[in-house]
Structures are given as structure tokens and as C-alpha cells.
């Protein structure tokens, strides 16, 4: 499965790029996070504390145990601070 992975705010800064395309066989967001963490220290740093992160699947907020079935775009970011 090919996914577009997007990073925002300090997640983007820690990982060093705003987006990448990834081939994965992960079934859930949590599985994808495990895969990313194992890649490089900058990913391990960005994903160290999941309670400080939010995830959106195809531009809708989701949980970390959500399945990736049929998903095209996954975004990781800190809690939002609009307004």
C-alpha cells in the first residue's frame, strides 16, 4: 500500500520534511508509527510520545488504533492551536 505521509508544526521540524510517500504493509496507524520509529532517530524522536500527537486519515481526525484500509493520506501533528 502506498501512503502520503504529512507532518505539521514541530513534528515536521523534527522529521525535517513536510511530506513523503511511503510503501507500507502496516494495518493500523499504530503499526505505521512503529515502522516509522524504527527507521531513524529523528522519527523515534518525533513519535516518542503519542499522547502529544494527533493523526488525521484522509483529512479526518482519527485514533491511533484506526485501520489504514483504503486510506491515501496520513497526517501527524501536535494538538491544534487555532483561533
Amino acid at each position: 500500500m502506498t501512503l502520503d505521509i504529512l507532518y505539521f508544526a514541530w513534528v515536521r521540524e523534527r522529521i525535517g520534511e513536510p511530506r513523503e510517500r511511503l510503501e507500507t504493509s502496516a494495518k493500523t496507524v499504530a503499526g505505521l508509527v512503529e515502522e516509522l520509529r524504527a527507521r531513524e532517530p529523528r522519527y523515534a524522536a518525533a513519535f516518542a510520545d503519542l499522547s502529544a500527537l494527533r493523526v488525521a486519515l484522509d483529512q479526518e481526525l482519527a485514533d491511533f488504533d484506526a485501520p489504514l484500509d483504503g486510506v491515501r493520506e496520513v497526517a501527524f501533528f501536535p494538538p491544534m492551536t487555532g483561533g
Partner: protein
């Protein structure tokens, strides 16, 4: 329903002048305008990052929810992104209704949801350095009011 995400400034007055104009059933218009604050004169600028695509979608969902929960004639949300100086407008919401209670509550609701559920992130760039504004527990808790 009007939802705009833009880098350019907007004019609260001009927006309100056009908003829900010529609606005979409107008795109450509430607006909220958010401004870049600089209480201790340290801020150079606020940088607002957002998630193009999801932002418009999230704001539209939030405005549609407000329209369905309160009897509103109309709702408006404008949010800027990019680098903003102290005193610059960041965003505004407006609500129009027959009665004041609906207009006030819906505007308050829009702000609470927009704070915590629309994909914007603020970074403060001050003389002392940069830092991402942390989400407040209060802001998340405020959603429980609705």
C-alpha cells in the same frame, strides 16, 4: 455559510456589513475577532501553519454543525495563515440569528471548536527565540460545554 482560509488580511467591518444583509429575520449579529497579542512587547511575529484541504473541510464541518444546532440565518468563519505581526487580525467568526441567545452561543461554540479541532498551529517568534504554542487543557475541556 462562508468559510475562508487565506494569507491576506480581512476587514472585520466590511465582512460584517455584507454578512446576512437583507435578511429580514435577523435581529442579532455576534462577531468574534482574534488579534495577535503581545502583552510583554517581546513578540516579533506569530507564524500560523495549517493543513490545506483539511482546514477548509474542518471549518466547514464546524460551521455546518453550528447551523444545525442553533437557528442561525448564517455563519461566517475566516482564518488567516502565514506570518502575522502583533496587532494583526488572525481570524473572525460571525453568526446571525433572530435572537441574541442563539447568536452568542453559536459564536462561542464556533470559537471553542475552531481552537481545538481545526488544523492550525501557531509558532511565536520572539526576541528570545521560537516556540510552538502549546494547546491548553482549558481549550480541550471547553468542548465539553457543548
Amino acid at each position: 455559510m462562508i468559510v475562508r482560509v487565506q494569507a491576506e488580511d480581512f476587514d472585520t467591518g466590511a465582512e460584517l456589513a455584507d454578512f446576512a444583509a437583507d435578511r429580514q429575520d435577523v435581529g442579532a449579529v455576534v462577531s468574534f475577532t482574534g488579534v495577535v497579542r503581545d502583552s510583554d512587547a517581546m513578540l516579533d511575529r506569530m507564524e500560523i501553519e495549517h493543513y490545506p484541504g483539511m482546514t477548509e473541510r474542518a471549518l466547514t464541518d464546524i460551521a455546518a454543525t453550528a447551523m444545525s444546532r442553533w437557528e442561525l440565518a448564517d455563519a461566517l468563519v475566516i482564518h488567516r495563515h502565514g506570518a502575522l505581526r502583533p496587532g494583526e487580525r488572525i481570524m473572525m467568526v460571525a453568526t446571525a440569528a433572530a435572537h441574541r441567545r442563539a447568536a452568542f452561543e453559536a459564536a462561542d461554540f464556533l470559537m471553542d471548536y475552531l481552537k481545538s479541532r481545526a488544523p492550525f498551529w501557531k509558532k511565536e517568534v520572539t526576541r528570545a527565540g521560537e516556540n510552538w504554542v502549546a494547546a491548553k487543557d482549558d481549550d480541550e475541556a471547553a468542548l465539553g460545554r457543548w
